[in-house]
Symmetry: D2
Subunit: 332 residues, 4 copies
């Protein structure tokens, strides 16, 4: 079998299993960092990489790349993915009325939250997706993630790892200079990514250990027009054929401003579901970010003409979690 | 009324309301950043500060300062502060057994969490504490935090703010060089902080806009011996008399490795509850971190002989929250 | 002021506050069962009433009157009223795979739920609604229900109370014999209720201490056609002008098959919200049931030509709750 | 293999798997109510049984048999079994202060809950326990209960079923007349049950379709002295050797005032866990109630000298649940 190429025209759109399988086999990183590895491509980030990243800070501007965690979010309950429910256990109204029972005039407010870990801006952990019953590094899915959580590759293992050089590829702005927004269903190719890098210039060069942020503009659109089917509907995103690009660039992680990272509907004429996830999470060991808000960063980068920055996006170390809500911060 | 001093011996231990009130009045920052301010002392962090902070990165080592978010955490249910409950909505066991209904061999795991926002490593937001019915910047507590959440100073406003120079003051190691652990009930004074800074050397100098991390060693102890009464029991921590130090240093935020930041039991012979919170959150507008894990950082700093670093600790932008779970990262 | 009448034509549709106030004053039961009362009209149920109710059992058929508690329920998040989220902490898939760590071949499944107490079939407790800052029996709303819950009239106090004679008034079938479904927006009047009773015959007579169930047929419709705006949209229901009927019949409780018990939109030309709730919960002390499934019961009653039965509908004794999920059972 | 007997002295305390297996085989009801059955022994309750039960009502007294659902409950987090967390989304304090935005003086309070379905008074559903990977009626455990819940025998199927004759066996009072409380670790035998029935007289006779309530007195003790290890610690309860009694009496369901229904520690000298559950839930199809509060009922029955009553204990129809919180009511 030859190595699968980057050209979407060569995809057999009637054979998702074959197309996925060819890429899984060609780009599999199992064993690359030892039998016990729990980090996958995050291993590409080393201390020298972080020194390189910190050196990029020039203006000192700090930009949150998170969407809100809000009851009025995009989720519609698919597979119990609801919006967060945030409730108060104590309030200022109570404090002011004097019903809290505390001495010397102190009052307090406290709160709780119930939420899917992937309800808003998040990382997909390595235990989030399986390929034919196998998880990252070739482990049996059922040995890794049980009802007790991810017993092996829980997101807590990445608590210190995800600080690196970030590179924004504003594909929306590059391909659609007038609106800055790709249409739903647009499949971003490896050629698109490379062309966007060339257009943005040297600061957009993608290197080993980078965290690549791909802005499609879809979030800009739903932020303006209402959520609609943002959670699970049609969306621009990466083509399955970018699997090779994601592998050979040796990036540490990638994130987009969409619900599902890859193009939707998926690129097949038969039922298919998130084929690129199936290739890159369990086989490459790639950490994927979704539902990021890249708009303020895109404006700042365009203004500065610079597309690289220090990116700090550590997950919450929830024991055994297969994903994590995050507030990534770019420091320019 | 003269400005309250730093000497704990001058505290009237029968009059918490008076001692709190004197400090609230003396150190109040209301209006300092305008009537509409929602950030308090986080305003001390400006872009130049972040440039200064990023320049501190030398080894590129990244250290998570979070404790785990875990069912087996320290919480005992006080005021409904429970440990997080993390459950799976899909698992690898299900994927392997083939019951998920997905095509072409893809399987998935997903999860949800229910937790108090202050169950583990966290920031106290500005809406967390009130003084005689008033919140930060002089607003009525009942105008700010209702059952719908913090309508004014919700933690989402700080989403981009909390990246700065971090300074670790390892008071535990300084005062108890053999064990590195202060005894429960030890009240850290302004003099202790200043002496610790002098002992640690120039890299420990505390400056405007810094985020100061105070290690007491209590977490080291409970991590070794079991949680015990970590959540709400006796603990080392800052004396009420450090309020002036916290004000005049113009730090942006402060965090400790304890449940409650300030010394417990509190320093009064009559009922009292978290008096330093009452002074610094609603009056100074100071953001406070609690339940941080400073042990790995302390070891790294001691080894390097350097106590300053880039600190990235953005809150999750949960709309209307009065606190946030966080995974702070120090980059050395 | 004369006692407000039953005729909707006399309503001043520009003055909800006046119309509500007149009924609140005329029909207020404050003090009727003493200053410390926590049950309101549930006091009308005495042991003799339960003996009378039990004697109604003839066929022994038992019919659940609950809708499902289901992720795919009607809630849309209004005021954080979501559908329940039910997740497993252990499963049969895990047990079968042998990963639970139990001895001698035992395996187990366990589950948790997060839900608003009013997400599906429920009772409104006495602390659910206030009238100008006053709760049931004339207490200050803020003395009764704080962030800690209902400190006075929590639903746990009714744990043993709600077993009585039930009477089904199938107003849908009576007024719309062909479809059995009232149109959305139809305001059921006292005259309608009385006419329905006469049409159904002696077994439908309403007496002191009864629990009256009013079927509108709306649930039948949404069960067939999809939830649509069942939660909060237009619906048939009781007219504000039935307040007198609800008072003089001395019923213990009432329930409907709709989201909101009373007609929606409400009967005013200016902004109004659930005016009948405002009259009957805090003023009469009436317990209201909503979102019941009365369809199987209606069929059984129509077949038998008997509209009375033993009704058991105890709330879950959740400390301090202002409502409760329930599974009411009619025993015929 | 001979049918296992009722005598605990014949138990081989080194062989739980053998002792369980013998009883599972001897008393298995698989197929008894057809291949599609989802109710197990609840099938023993028929309409005639409910007529018989309703005829028992004489005084009309109604007694809740539920413990509170309360944050300060017995749970300690074992296998994520926590106490319920009940929080308010609107309160009377807010209503009184006028911050809810409703017209004409109406105010409201609402609430949500997060809880394990087995945190307090509950039924164990048929999907709660498996025997060597098999669920009730011989189904594969993994075909029945996945991460999506119990797809076959979910508790919603029993929504109308659980109303029958209840019989209280106050074994605590019978065996320990002075205290009314069995010591922790006491194994109640079939002989004990029969002797208790004889002592209580004809009204305590146990018949097909009954719901039997066994009071040990442990709840009385922990209610007085504090929860201690009520959740999972040592307790009085049924001996494994009562399996035959539970089978031949053809009861519909059974409940106790303890956490775990059967005696704890279990009756083996080697590691064992809830062996009677393993026999009776998946093999007999018996529905088990736990953590009931039988004290008020026991007093009423002792006073009346009558131990039978109408019992209404329908579960909440939570789709796919393997258990349900309940408020059972006895009507005397």
């Amino acid at each position: 079998m030859s190595t699968p190429g980057d050209d979407p025209d060569t995809l057999d759109r009637t054979d998702p299993e074959g197309e996925i399988g060819a890429r899984a086999e060609a780009f599999r990183n199992w064993g690359r960092w030892g039998e016990d590895d729990v980090l996958g491509t995050l291993n590409f980030i080393d201390p020298a990489k972080r020194v390189e990243a910190a050196a990029l800070v020039s203006s000192g501007e700090s930009i949150s790349l998170a969407q809100r965690f809000d009851t009025n979010g995009p989720q519609k309950g698919w597979r119990r993915r609801t919006n967060p429910v945030h409730t108060m256990t104590d309030t200022g109204v109570d404090a002011e009325r004097g019903n809290q029972g505390f001495p010397h005039g102190i009052g307090g407010a406290d709160d709780v939250i119930s939420m899917p870990l992937q309800c808003s801006t998040q990382w997909d952990g390595l235990g989030h997706i399986f390929d034919h019953g196998f998880a990252w590094n070739g482990r049996r899915a059922g040995d890794v993630v049980t009802s007790e959580g991810d017993l092996v590759t829980g997101i807590e293992h990445a608590a210190s790892a995800i600080v690196s050089r970030g590179v924004l590829l504003d594909v929306g702005r590059f391909l659609e200079p007038e609106t800055g927004e790709l249409p739903d269903g647009y499949a971003i190719t490896a050629a698109d990514l490379d062309a966007c890098i060339r257009a943005q210039g040297p600061s957009a060069e993608v290197r080993r250990g980078d965290i690549v942020l791909v802005r499609t503009g879809q979030y800009t659109r739903v932020h303006r027009e209402g959520w609609g089917d943002y959670a699970g509907g049609a969306a621009p995103g990466l083509s399955l054929t970018t699997a090779g690009w994601l592998h050979r660039t040796e990036i540490a992680a990638i994130a987009t401003d969409t619900w599902g990272f890859e193009v939707r509907p998926n690129e097949f004429d038969v039922p298919a579901f998130q084929p690129l996830h199936q290739v890159v999470i369990p086989n490459l060991g790639l950490t994927i970010g979704e539902m990021w808000n890249l708009d303020a960063l895109a404006d700042a980068c365009a203004t500065a003409g610079r597309w690289e920055f220090l990116l700090s996006a550590p997950p919450l170390p929830i024991t055994g979690a297969v994903g994590s809500p995050i507030n990534p911060v770019a420091i320019l």
